[in-house]
Symmetry: C2
Amino acid sequence: DQPTPITVAYGDGIGPEIMSAVLEVLEKAGARLAIETIEVGEALWRRGITSGIEPSAWESLRRTKVFLKAPITTPRGGGMKSLNVTIRKALGLFANVRPCPTYAPFIQTAHPGMDVVVIRENEEDLYGGIEHRQTEDVVQCLKLISRPGTERLVRYAFAYAERHGRHKVTCLVKDNIMKLTDGLFRQVFEEVAREYPNLETETLIVDIGTARLAARPEDFDVVVTPNLYGDIVSDVVAEVAGSVGLGASANVGAEVAMFEAIHGSAPEIAGRGIANPSGLLLAAVLMLVHVGQGDVAERVHNAWLATIEDGIHTADVYHPERSRAKVSTEGFAAAVI
Amino acid sequence: DQPTPITVAYGDGIGPEIMSAVLEVLEKAGARLAIETIEVGEALWRRGITSGIEPSAWESLRRTKVFLKAPITTPRGGGMKSLNVTIRKALGLFANVRPCPTYAPFIQTAHPGMDVVVIRENEEDLYGGIEHRQTEDVVQCLKLISRPGTERLVRYAFAYAERHGRHKVTCLVKDNIMKLTDGLFRQVFEEVAREYPNLETETLIVDIGTARLAARPEDFDVVVTPNLYGDIVSDVVAEVAGSVGLGASANVGAEVAMFEAIHGSAPEIAGRGIANPSGLLLAAVLMLVHVGQGDVAERVHNAWLATIEDGIHTADVYHPERSRAKVSTEGFAAAVI
Ligand SMILES: CC(C)[C@H](C(=O)O)[C@@H](O)C(=O)O
Ligand SMILES: CC(C)[C@H](C(=O)O)[C@@H](O)C(=O)O
């Protein structure tokens, strides 16, 4: 078998530590990957490349079409737009898929029966970063919803639900306030829903919907929602399922797919070797499935599960009854290997 | 003592049932109130008054300056803006205060130790409902943050925290994406925070902040945040504390104050006599304190607590171990009385 070319970015903060750990696991698991490393984020900016991403990086991404990305930091104060958003938009990654399974009883959760996948729109909404200062004291930001953007996302969500044997798709919007924008999102959802009579569908206002997801996540299955709500809701669901530190995501476009942890670069603990590489490792598992190396994906996933089941963990997911050994980032990777 | 003039609206859906129950309790508790009833919402719209609120209603509100409001419904399809938002803005109710205590062990919660108050901005953000359709397929909504609006709210939150002996104020924003708008909110928060060196302060990104509120609400005290995040977060916190059905809120302005439940008009159960009047009753307790009838407030609050402690409840807050009698809306009010 030819190795699959992929692009990798080590990122900022805890990024380099967890990426090293993950790549070591992938290698030992026999993943057939030809890795091209690119630099993005603050590290690059510090070296004077203020765009935060080099032309050669885009070339690599367009060539490999698969991106495993560690968390990155957008330098503050430079007036720079979020690099994460720039990358998602430049690569046309319209769907952000965030499966939040539980690992009970090995990872603590009050909701062992939950199994929610959040599919969030990834290019529109308030994330355009179109802001302006009208007067010294008045600032505005533009929220955008388009029919093509919404339709692509909603169709992806329904196809995902069908492909994964899911039974319900819930749409979260605030269309009692934003009648045109969230109203359009809801309308498109209801139109596409009609093409899937075998799937149960519902629309909830995002306030009560998020509250129910927090308190009774067992009642939900696939959730589809605009960008900003999806940002909040996916963190809530991941945390309630166990920890945002375990959250993995696939950013899916027509051509390119990007895989990343849902957590940030956590600069406050960077360089201490204590970060949890699990979110990025589970993102790598999604990536291996995507590139057709399901055998390796399964091996890595099972090894990760076995490690957790053995009570071996980084400091962030301590379990009062099941913890056997608190280890470092590297120690955790070694245990998985 | 002269009775305090207040304005009351019975609202839509379950509104009339729960308002009757609440007013009966207040009367029996000896509240000294001179009630002026106004009509707002769908009921009025059905009678051809399409503004949803009559000039005489505004006059009453400007006169009494105290408003006890049941949930109302904005008619769909009429292209009408949210009546709730219209009222909040017309009356200048800039702060929406939502205390979310627990009533453990009598109301089920996984977090008996939590005691969070959410103070949400109530006039700005995306709630202006300034939307437009650029093309058939592209719609936009404007988010507004102003320094005076933010400063008034944040100052209110800090003064509230001090007055109520709270120790920490947390600000939730998404200023890594919305650098100007949420950035201004954060900046004002940090400026005002400097005037309160005795209070602990922190700013969290709203995604992880909401996730932590859902999973570890014990770590929070007073939360201050823009309108839309506050809408979502207050439902999450109320639900995790027990039920959104118990949530009460004070909408505070320079002149007028409005008291309401945080839940909606629940048209799907309207007229069946099963709705929980607790949210509105606890809002009335906040109102009684506001108008200087703290003695009556305490009496009502204690009677409500005693009812819950006796295991008497409406269907929505069933407790597997402590339930003794499931009663109707009227039955619940009778038990409180
Ligand atoms: C870092 C930030 C731009 C990002 C987002 O808001 O989308 C993150 O919170 C996420 O959820 O991936
Ligand atoms: C009914 C709706 C306009 C309102 C809001 O979004 O503010 C409600 O959800 C609330 O929280 O009071």
